[in-house]
């Protein structure tokens, strides 16, 4: 019997959301902006200028020239997430005593809604992470019960890699929220006609966030066909079929009618009728033929297909806390019978008390869990994004982990029974502590090196270095060197940025984390300091530093669990 979800559940969800967003805001300053974030800041500032123009002079803003000026940058991704970053930044600027004026040069010390400009751009991403916990609790509570929902939300919150990404003004967490919500809405629409329209809206929003949402209708269609065939089979055998089940594909109509219009409506770059198709074609081709970037995996730097099929499976195994994986395994094992086709179930697993529900929820959930991972496992799919490209699988993994935790709690209570004082609560507290402690320890330990973190299954960070795993990307670890550079260059100086972008460096200035006279240098040989972000193929920058500065001795090595993350070389000219 599924619980009736009421306002108290939403209150708990809202508290989870608010608490997580507060945690993210409190820890955001430890992370310098990553490469991709800095691109989205530039885009968001362009969007913000256009939005201000739209507010002040709509006719001028809606001209082809104005739209292209505002929306052309970074048109490889749709507009919604970056528009939210822009709105957040506008709100931040407007809260400044002088109104901000939309100046990129404005700094955190001038007030504003957030502690820093970076937080302003990042807030929508953080809010997405918080809302995802809320959604996971509600989704889990409806499918497997409140305890499972709560544990699912906690399990997601305490995954080291998603915790890092939850801080960022990027798309990976917003799209995880959008896709999870679209799945939830579709699932509700199978038994509640009121949700049919919401399903279409949700998919449209997902399309407007990132391109991985285009595959959702395919997943839904497979599930839908499965569900309808199962319902027909039951009807043929005079077995009861839930009267609430919506067996006509209204959801598909909703997706088709609402998805593309929302995608278009939220992306002005596609608004010109004469260029719409051409631009959409460019967008599609960009992602279908995406460039390959180099990434290390098991001691080899991969830069072209065929990529290893094992990649997403191994990376999931060594970056997600094992306790989460183990409990998800328990949850999936519990529900495995319900995931089998009816005929197969009756043949190979005849006796069992687990039956599929009418909408075949388990088939949907397992499909949503496996689809992103299997897509990355295709040898032709680029793997440079590390785990973030299959984050959309993790909410569903966490739902089963929540169910597994409930199963473990019940097992303890029934196994020990009356021997435990207040056995119901004692078992809950004991199991909660056992589940949360390792997740918490690892997530705390991962900060602020999120992308460098590996779980004990890999031997931790040093074990992963032994295995030849990627140590980081995007250059965000520079945030751990701001004190070093500030101390070393009291009168200012220059730094060669390696994998960091000038835009990300500029955000350190805007946030007040680096003095403005500590500047970035485009020239390695003329810089006062050179950073080498340790990715295997970036070794050349280290070798260039040796030749430029005539020494192999670094001025500083930033380490994480004893593993070099950034090595810094000093130009000997400074000592003369």
């Amino acid at each position: 019997m599924r619980p009736r979800i009421g306002w108290l559940d939403h209150l708990l969800g809202a508290l989870l959301c608010a608490g997580y967003v507060a945690l993210l805001l409190g820890t955001s300053a430890d992370l310098a902006m990553s490469r991709d974030e800095s691109f989205y800041v530039t885009a968001a500032q362009d969007y913000a200028r256009w939005m201000r123009q739209l507010w002040n002079d709509p006719d001028a803003a809606l001209t082809t020239e104005a739209i292209d000026q505002g929306w052309d940058y970074n048109h490889e991704h749709p507009g919604l997430a970056k528009a939210l970053f822009a709105l957040s930044w506008i709100a931040h600027e407007n809260a400044k005593p002088d109104g901000g004026g939309g100046s990129a040069a404005a700094g955190a010390d001038e007030g504003g809604l957030f502690a820093s400009d970076s937080d302003a751009f990042r807030f929508p991403g953080m809010l997405s992470a918080g809302l995802l916990l809320w959604l996971l609790y509600i989704f889990g509570a409806r499918v497997f019960g409140r305890e499972a929902g709560a544990f699912a939300a906690v399990a997601y919150a305490l995954m080291p890699r998603p915790f890092y990404h939850a801080h960022l003004d990027c798309f990976d967490v917003p799209i995880t929220l959008a896709i999870t919500f679209a799945v939830y809405a579709y699932w509700r629409a199978l038994t509640s006609r009121g949700w049919i329209v919401i399903a279409g809206l949700a998919w449209g929003l997902a399309l407007a966030v990132k391109h991985n949402s285009w595959v959702l209708p395919g997943i839904f269609l497979i599930h839908y066909v499965w569900m309808v065939l199962a319902a027909r089979a039951r009807a043929k055998r005079d077995l009861p079929v839930s009267a609430r089940l919506v067996t006509r594909p209204w959801w598909l109509v909703s997706l088709a009618w609402l998805g593309p219009p929302i995608f278009l409506a939220t992306w002005p770059w596609l608004w010109h009728p004469e260029t719409m198709l051409e631009r959409f074609g460019w967008y599609a081709r960009f992602h279908v033929n995406h460039e390959y970037y180099t990434i290390a995996y098991l001691g080899r730097s991969w830069f072209e297909p065929p990529f290893p099929i094992s990649y997403p499976f191994v990376l999931t195994a060594i970056t997600v806390p094992l306790v989460t994986l183990a409990m998800a395994g328990v949850g999936i094992a519990m529900r495995a019978r319900a995931m089998l086709p009816g005929l197969l179930r009756e043949r190979v697993w005849k006796n069992g008390d687990v039956e599929p529900d009418s909408p075949h929820t388990d088939v949907l959930l397992i499909g949503c869990l496996l689809a992103p991972i299997l897509m990355i496992a295709l040898p032709s799919t680029p793997i440079f994004g590390g785990t973030k490209h299959w984050f959309t699988a993790y909410p569903f993994l966490c739902l089963y982990a929540g169910l597994g935790v409930v199963r473990a709690t019940n097992a303890l209570r029934h196994g020990v029974g009356a021997r435990l004082p207040a056995s119901r609560w004692t078992s809950r507290v004991l199991v909660s502590a056992l589940v949360i402690a390792p997740m918490l320890v690892q997530t705390v330990h991962s900060h602020p090196f999120g992308l460098s973190h590996y779980t004990p299954l890999a031997g931790g960070v040093p074990g992963a270095a032994d295995l030849g795993m990627n140590r980081q990307f995007w250059g965000f670890t520079t945030g751990s060197l701001t004190e070093f550079f500030t101390e070393q260059m009291p009168n200012g100086g220059t730094v060669y940025l390696c994998d960091m972008t000038p835009g990300a460096w500029e955000m350190l200035h805007r946030d007040g984390r680096l003095p403005r006279n500590v500047r970035w240098s485009a020239s390695l040989t003329n810089a006062d300091f050179v950073m080498v972000h340790h990715e295997d193929h970036f070794l050349e920058v280290e070798l260039q530093s040796w030749i430029a500065f005539g020494t192999t001795k670094p001025a500083h090595v930033l380490t994480y669990d004893g593993v070099p993350i950034i090595t810094v070389y000093e130009n000997p000219r400074r000592r003369r």
Partner: protein, 302 residues
């Protein structure tokens, strides 16, 4: 009870393992203590190496002033008589595998989490390191002499390849037609101390060392900059080693072969040694070599 037992087992494993991983990290003080000891013992013909290789920046932070470019970017251990190995996590340097199978370390000591071992390999076979002696050579493009010049180092950055050192021979007119001592990232993503000698096509670029002692062997390693070799779409590079104008060894380097070794015998006595590089198609043939003149090979470390 099994779901709870599994949960308890996994949770305790993760907590204990995380604590063990953190506890096993060698603190900076251990590295500093090991380095202080090694620094006090270090002789001119020694080299210091580290295991695992990813700890190399930490080793050089501590002892980089005693690890010159030639040592940091070595192709093998032939130039060194004693090898100091600093290791953590019980790891051993793969390049000492041969030495370990034949000898016990002459010294072994622990400095907290850092273990120091010394292997005495014996007298070095290297009589002249051609890579480090480039300043004494003559460089020609065809019959034309390339001028030695000194200016600020040029280049740098991701994808830029080996840096042009401040001092180098310039053959030109193409800016990449210089010959100089630098370091390259080879196909295995190893740093190599080497002489950049980009081919100019079928017209040879040659580096000649006049009137040097010939101890009987020349050993040459060569390879292409990682980004230009990894796609395996470009043509070969031909290298010839000549003594007094007569070919004694030849190597053709093809994409995918990485840092390739060639060994040739020479007569003994004195003579002119030339390293000549050509390529049918010089496009993206960012060739770099490291070579030395050697006497009889010793048992280990080559």
């Amino acid at each position: 009870m099994w779901p709870f037992a599994l949960l308890a087992l996994v949770a305790i494993y993760e907590l204990v393992a995380q604590a063990v991983i953190s506890a096993r990290v060698a603190p900076d003080a251990d590295w500093a203590a090991a380095a202080t000891f090694v620094r006090g013992e270090l002789a001119a013909s020694d080299v210091v190496i580290v295991a695992p290789a990813w700890a190399d920046p930490i080793l050089r932070r501590e002892l980089g002033d005693r690890i010159p470019l030639a040592a940091a970017g070595r192709s093998d251990l032939a130039a060194y008589e004693r090898v100091w190995e600093l290791s953590i996590r019980g790891r051993r340097a793969p390049e000492l595998e041969g030495a370990r199978s034949r000898m016990e370390p002459a010294f072994e000591g622990a400095f907290g989490g850092v273990t120091v071992r010394r292997f005495d390999l014996g007298e070095s076979s290297v009589r002249l390191d051609l890579t480090s002696s480039l300043r004494d050579a003559e460089v020609r493009r065809g019959a034309r002499t390339c001028a030695w010049r000194r200016n600020a180092p040029q280049g740098g950055g991701l994808g830029a390849g080996p840096l042009t050192p401040a001092e180098h021979f310039f053959c030109g007119p193409e800016p990449w037609l210089w010959v100089g001592e630098t370091a390259t990232e080879d196909l295995a993503l190893q740093g190599r101390h080497c002489v950049w000698q980009h081919p100019a096509g079928t017209e040879p670029i040659s580096t000649t060392y006049r009137d040097v002692e010939l101890p009987g062997r020349v050993v040459l390693y060569g390879g292409i900059y990682y980004l230009h070799e990894r796609d395996e779409v470009h043509g070969p590079v031909d290298v010839r080693v000549l003594v007094d104008g007569a070919e004694v060894g030849r190597m053709q380097h093809r994409d995918g072969e990485g840092w390739k070794r060639m060994e040739a015998s020479t007569r003994e006595g004195r003579g002119d040694v030339t390293i000549e590089v050509t390529a049918p198609d010089p496009n993206m043939r960012t060739f770099c070599w490291s070579a030395s003149l050697r006497g009889p090979a010793r048992e280990v470390g080559e």
